[in-house]
C-alpha cells in the first residue's frame, strides 16, 4: 500500500506527463553535462515529494536544471552552483543535508547508537566474563559438560547443568 503515496505524489508532480531531462536541455559538452547531472541528482524538486530535479517533470525542476547548466557554462564550480541554488531556494533544496548545526542530530544519531551498542556489548561481555571466571571449571568438568550438552539441545537444562557442575 505504501506505493499509493508515491502514486499520489506522481499525480501531483507528473501531470504534464513526459520526462525529466529533455533533449533540448542537454549541453553539448559531455563533461559539463555529466557534472550537471551529478549536481541535479542532489537537488530536490521543490514542488515534488522527495524527487530530485533530475527525475522530475515539474516545470520548476526544468527551470532549475536550466539554471544549473547556465551556471556551469558560465564557469562555476560544482560547489558554486549548489551554493547559488541554495542561496535562492534555501537548504530545503539539498537532498543531502549539510553536516552542520541543526543537522548534527541527523548525521550523528546512527553512529551514536552504534557506539552505545558497542559499549553495552562490552559491558555485558565483561560481566559475563566475571560470571564465567567465578564459575571456572576444571578441564575434566568441561569435558563432562561438553558431553552432557552434546546430547541435549535444550539450553535451559544446560544452564542448570553448568550451575550444578559449578557447585
Amino acid at each position: 500500500m505504501n506505493r499509493f503515496l508515491m502514486i499520489l505524489i506522481l499525480i501531483v508532480s507528473f501531470v504534464p506527463q513526459g520526462f525529466a531531462v529533455q533533449p533540448d536541455e542537454v549541453l553539448d559538452d559531455p563533461v559539463l553535462e555529466e557534472r550537471a547531472r551529478d549536481i541535479s541528482e542532489g537537488l530536490r524538486c521543490l514542488v515534488c515529494q522527495n524527487q530530485s530535479i533530475d527525475d522530475s517533470d515539474a516545470d520548476l525542476a526544468r527551470d532549475l536544471r536550466i539554471v544549473v547548466r547556465e551556471r556551469l557554462v558560465a564557469g562555476d564550480s560544482n560547489d558554486e552552483v549548489v551554493d547559488y541554488v541554495v542561496a535562492r531556494y534555501g537548504e530545503f533544496v539539498l537532498l543531502k543535508p549539510t553536516f552542520s548545526g541543526h543537522n548534527l542530530v541527523l548525521w550523528i544519531a546512527a553512529p551514536l547508537i552504534f557506539v552505545i551498542g558497542l559499549v553495552i556489548l562490552f559491558v555485558v561481555s565483561m560481566r559475563q566474563r566475571k560470571v564465567s571466571n567465578a564459575a571456572a571449571m576444571t578441564p575434566e568438568e568441561e569435558q563432562v559438560l561438553a558431553e552432557l550438552t552434546e546430547s541435549e539441545t535444550d539450553s535451559a537444562n544446560k544452564d542448570q547443568t553448568s550451575r550444578q557442575s559449578a557447585d
Binding site: N2, L5, I7, Q17, G42, D55, L106, I113, S155, A156
Partner: protein, 660 residues
C-alpha cells in the same frame, strides 16, 4: 443488495467478539481454566470467519459494480477488467484497512489452530494480545474508516480506480506487504505473552521463529514486488527511491532480519533473550509505523490517503498506545527475564550479535533520515530534505562491514571460535572473490570508484556461502560421490542459510552493477529511425493509437537488439484514462539474459517524432532474483519438520527441568 449490510454486521460482530475474547483471556490468565482457554482459541477462528464474510461482501459489491456503496463508487468503474474490480477493493484507505484486519484475524486463527502444541497458558496470552489488536483495528475501521457506507442515491457510473494502480504488480503488492507486516503481530503477541508471564526460554524462540520467517518471506516478496512495480510503471527507470513510504516498509524488514538471527541464537543457545523480545516488539512497531504513519497525515501532509485530520489523530493515538505500551511493559518486566547462555567474543553467537548491531544501526539510520525532517520542521520550522544521497552514504557504509563478516558466521562454531581457523577454511573463497572482482573490474574499467568494493562484497557473500556448503560436503576432500551424499544429507537449515545469503549476495551484486554501469540516452526519434546505444540498436518501428477497455493508448513499437543480433519487438505506451483524465506511462522493457533495455516515450516532436529515453540496465534482474532466492530459501527452511515435531518434546523437557 443486502450483502453490504450483512458484511457490516459481520464486522461489528467480530469487533464485539474481540472484546469478549480479551476479557475471557484476562480472566483465564488470572484463574486458569480449560473452558476459558478453549473459548479464547475458538473466538480467534470465529473472528477470522466473520471478517472474511465482511470482506467477501465488499468484494461482491466491487465486482458487481454496486455503486450504491460509496467506496465502490469512488474507486471503481463498470468497464474495468474484473481483476481490477477485485483489486480496487484494497486500492483505497477503507478497503485496505479491512484487508489489513482480515490478515490480522487470519494470523490469529492460524496461531489458534497451529498452536495446539503450545502450553495452554502461553497460547491464551498470545491470543489475548492478538485479540486486543483485532479489537483496536476493527474499532478503528468501523468508527473512522467504515468501508460499508452507502450512498442515498445510486450513481450510474463509478469514478474509477486510480489508473496507476490498475496493474497486476500493484494488485499483489499490498496483500504481500500486509501479510509481512501483520505476520509480525504474532511475534509481538508472543513477546507480550513472554513479558506478562515472565517465562521465556529456547522453546519460545522455536515457536516464534517460523512466524518471523513467514512474515519475513512475505515482506521480502512484497518489497521486491513494489520495487519492480515502481521500476516498470513509474517510467523513469529507478527501482529504489528511499522514499518515506519505501523506508517505512524497509525498516521492519531490517529488524525482522535481525530478529530471525537473534531468535536463532536464543533457540540454539538460550542467549539474547531480552534483546530478542525487544526486537519482536520493535519489528511490529515499525510495521505499524509503516502501515499507519503514511496515513496519519504527518508523514506527508498533502498526499496521503487519510486527509481527515481526526482520523490522523486517532492513528497517532493508537500507534502511541501500542508502541509505548509495549515498551513500558518491556521496561517493567524485562529485568525479570533470566539471561541465558554465555559465549566468547569470537563465536557464532558473537557474529550474530554483530549482525544485529549493524542491522539495528542501519534501521536507526533509515528511521532518523525519514523522521528527522518532520521533527525539525515541527520544532524549529526549519525545512530540510533527506534524500537518496544521505541514505546511500549512511546505509551503504553500514552494509560494508556487515557483508564482509557475513560469510564467516556459518563457519564459526557456537560458544568459542577462532577467526584464524575460519579464515583458513574460507581462504579459497577469499582468493576466488578477489580474482573474479579483479577480472571484472579490469574488463569494465572506467576510472576509480567504489564499484570494485561493491563487486567484491557481492562475490564474497555468494562464494563464501557456497563454501559453507562445500565445506560441509567435504568437497574435494573425499570422493565426489561421498560429497554428493553428504550434501543430500545436510539439514534443511544449512541449505536455507546458505541460499538466503547467496540471495543477499546476488541482490548486492545487481545493485552494484546496475548503479555503476547503467546508461541513459535521451534523444528524439522519427519513425524508421535507428540508433545505436551502448551495445544495443534501437529502431523506432511505428506508432499506433490503441483502445483498451477503460483507456486509450499511444503505443510506439521499437525493435531492440544487442548489436549484430536478431531484433525483438517491444512497445512503450502512454495511456490516458478518461474517467480520471489521467495519463500513465507503460515502459517498454526488453530482457536480454539478466540485463534489460528500458524504453520510455515522451512528448511528440514535430509530425511523427517522439522524445525517447533509452536506458541499458546491465544485470538489473539480479536485484529481484536475489530477493526471490532469499524468499525461496526461507520457505524451504519452513518445511523443516522440527518446527512441527520438536516443539512439544521441548515443552516436556522444559517442565521437567523446571520441576527439578
Amino acid at each position: 443488495m443486502l450483502s453490504i449490510e450483512l458484511g457490516h454486521f459481520a464486522l461489528v460482530l467480530a469487533f464485539a467478539l474481540a472484546i469478549v475474547q480479551v476479557g475471557v483471556a484476562i480472566y483465564a490468565w488470572q484463574r486458569p481454566n480449560e473452558g476459558g482457554y478453549s473459548f479464547v482459541q475458538q473466538a480467534s477462528g470465529l473472528q477470522f470467519l466473520l471478517v472474511l464474510l465482511s470482506f467477501a461482501a465488499l468484494v461482491v459489491a466491487f465486482v458487481t459494480s454496486d455503486f450504491s456503496l460509496k467506496l465502490a463508487y469512488e474507486h471503481s468503474h463498470s468497464l474495468q477488467p474484473t481483476l481490477y474490480k477485485f483489486t480496487s477493493v484494497w486500492g483505497n484507505h477503507e478497503g485496505s484497512m479491512l484487508l489489513w484486519v482480515l490478515i490480522l484475524t487470519l494470523f490469529g486463527a492460524a496461531v489458534a489452530v497451529g498452536g495446539s502444541n503450545l502450553p495452554k497458558a502461553t497460547l491464551n496470552l498470545v491470543l489475548g494480545s492478538q485479540g486486543f489488536l483485532v479489537f483496536a483495528f476493527i474499532g478503528f475501521t468501523i468508527f473512522t474508516s467504515n468501508p460499508f457506507e452507502r450512498l442515498p442515491e445510486m450513481p450510474l457510473e463509478g469514478r474509477d480506480l486510480n489508473p496507476i494502480l490498475q496493474d497486476i504488480g500493484l494488485a499483489i503488492h499490498p496483500p504481500l506487504l500486509y501479510l509481512g507486516y501483520v505476520g509480525f503481530s504474532v511475534c509481538f503477541s508472543f513477546a507480550i505473552a513472554a513479558l506478562i508471564s515472565g517465562k521465556i526460554d529456547a522453546a519460545w524462540a522455536r515457536w516464534v521463529r517460523p512466524w518471523t520467517m513467514l512474515s519475513w518471506i512475505f515482506l521480502t516478496l512484497g518489497i521486491a514486488m513494489g520495487s519492480y512495480w515502481a521500476y516498470y510503471e513509474l517510467g523513469w527507470g529507478g527501482w529504489w527511491f528511499w522514499d518515506p513510504v519505501e523506508n517505512a516498509s524497509f525498516m521492519p524488514w531490517l529488524t525482522g532480519t535481525a530478529l530471525l538471527h537473534s531468535a536463532l541464537v536464543m533457540e540454539k543457545r538460550g542467549a539474547l533473550k531480552i534483546w530478542t523480545v525487544l526486537l519482536a516488539i520493535i519489528t511490529f512497531s515499525l510495521s505499524l509505523l509503516g502501515t499507519f504513519l503514511v496515513r496519519s497525515g504527518i508523514l506527508t501532509s498533502v498526499h496521503s490517503f487519510a486527509t481527515d485530520p481526526s482520523r490522523g489523530l486517532v492513528i497517532l493515538g493508537m500507534l502511541t498506545f501500542f508502541i509505548c505500551g509495549a515498551f513500558i511493559l518491556f521496561a517493567w518486566r524485562a529485568p525479570a527475564l533470566k539471561a541465558g547462555g554465555l559465549f566468547a567474543p569470537i563465536s557464532r553467537e558473537a557474529a550474530l550479535v554483530f549482525n544485529n548491531l549493524f542491522l539495528a544501526t542501519a534501521t536507526i539510520a533509515v528511521l532518523v533520515g525519514t523522521l528527522y525532517p518532520l521533527a525539525l520542521d515541527a520544532f524549529t520550522g526549519i525545512k530540510i530534505s533527506v534524500g537518496a544521497p544521505f541514505f546511500d552514504l549512511t546505509f551503504g557504509a553500514l552494509m560494508v562491514p556487515l557483508l564482509l563478516v557475513l560469510p564467516f558466521g556459518p563457519f564459526l562454531p557456537w560458544k568459542r571460535a577462532s577467526i584464524a581457523q575460519a579464515s583458513k577454511r574460507l581462504f579459497g573463497a577469499i582468493v576466488l572473490s578477489f580474482v573474479l572482482t579483479i577480472i571484472l573490474v579490469a574488463y569494465l574499467w572506467d576510472g576509480f570508484s567504489l564499484t570494485p568494493l561493491g563487486m567484491l562484497l557481492g562475490f564474497w557473500v555468494i562464494i563464501g556461502s557456497l563454501a559453507d556448503l562445500a565445506e560441509r560436503a567435504k568437497l574435494f576432500k573425499v570422493a565426489p560421490s561421498v560429497s554428493l551424499r553428504r550434501l543430500a544429507g545436510l539439514p534443511k537449515n544449512a541449505w536455507s542459510t546458505s541460499f538466503a545469503h547467496i540471495g543477499m549476495g546476488l541482490t548486492v551484486l545487481g545493485v552494484v552493477l546496475v548503479s555503476a554501469y547503467e546508461t541513459e540516452t535521451i534523444t528524439t526519434m522519427q519513425p524508421g529511425e535507428q540508433i545505436e546505444t551502448y551495445g544495443y540498436s534501437v529502431r523506432f518501428v511505428e506508432e499506433v493509437d490503441l483502445a483498451g477497455p477503460n483507456f486509450t493508448s499511444e503505443t510506439v513499437t521499437f525493435a531492440v537488439a544487442p548489436l549484430g543480433k536478431r531484433e525483438d519487438m517491444v512497445s512503450s505506451e502512454k495511456r490516458t484514462y478518461p474517467a480520471r483524465q489521467m495519463p500513465t506511462t507503460e515502459a517498454g522493457i526488453k530482457t536480454f539474459g539478466l540485463s534489460q533495455v528500458y524504453i520510455s516515450i515522451g512528448d511528440r516532436v514535430g509530425e511523427n517524432g517522439r522524445v525517447v529515453r533509452i536506458w541499458t540496465k546491465p544485470w538489473i534482474l539480479l536485484i529481484w532474483l536475489g530477493c526471490l532466492v532469499m524468499a525461496a530459501a526461507g520457505t524451504y527452511s519452513l518445511t523443516d519438520r522440527k518446527y512441527r515435531i520438536a516443539a512439544p518434546n521441548l515443552v516436556q523437557k522444559q517442565s521437567v527441568g523446571a520441576a527439578k
